[in-house]
């Protein structure tokens, strides 16, 4: 499943799709950025409630397919602009991290 396909799924909304054709190969959930840096792997969709600008660097360095903002978290305009200029895919959802992970599990495994 690509990031663009996920953004079209029910419960998800695109915030920034610079590289929407990236394939989602896994899921990582976490809000402690150093922890995420140590554990998230390339191609993961990273679910977090963090929205400060440092998430963009973490997403870029870990080579995540996309950031998924859970629980209705939104990005400030300057962070959204930075996501566009750095080419970081960001998706938002009103769902909890757990519910997002359940849906991703179904969508990834049904391919």
């Amino acid at each position: 499943m690509t990031v663009t396909e996920l953004s079209h799924a029910e419960g998800f909304e695109a915030v920034n799709l610079s590289e929407g054709d990236r394939e989602i190969t896994g899921v990582y959930i976490g809000d402690l950025l150093s922890w995420v840096m140590g554990k998230a792997t390339s191609g993961d969709s990273w679910i977090t409630i963090m929205s400060n600008i440092n998430i963009l660097a973490v997403a870029s360095l870990t080579d995540c397919a996309c950031v998924i903002l859970a629980e209705g978290v939104t990005l400030e305009d300057d962070v959204k602009t930075a996501a566009q200029s750095k080419g970081i895919n960001v998706i938002s959802s009103q769902l909890s991290a757990y519910e997002i992970a359940l849906r991703l599990n179904t969508m990834i495994n049904n391919e």
């Binding site: 150093s34 840096m37 140590g38 400060n52 600008i53 440092n54 660097a57 080579d63 750095k86």
Partner: protein
Amino acid sequence: MSEALNFHFDVDGDDFTSAGQASVQIKKNLRQLGISPDTIRRVSIAMYEGEINMVIHAGGGEADVSVTEDYVEILLTDHGPGIANIEQAMQEGFSTAPDAIRSLGFGAGMGLPNMKRYSDYMNIDSEVGKGTTITMRVNL
């Protein structure tokens, strides 16, 4: 490649929001050099943690990256307060970061352990009141 390629960055200690720019730039540079994705990931994560540490604890510093035939070396130099107990600082979960930093998702006590985990060689030279120099190498 017979001579080392060197990259120098000033890490701004006043601007926490721009922390990580040097690491992201190095990631791009290494990609252009055709270095493997896994090595790039290890170098850039180790460097990012170091960069963040310099911003949080030392008011910024300098980062120098050399790419040789055998390894990528990251040299981080600051003139901050120094590390009183390096052994304690290396423990996962130990942190002296202030609450404001923790609320941004940092200060989990994973910085130095991650730097160690992602490098093949790491040395910390620190003196309280003078500053810290960290050398990391990732083999190619």
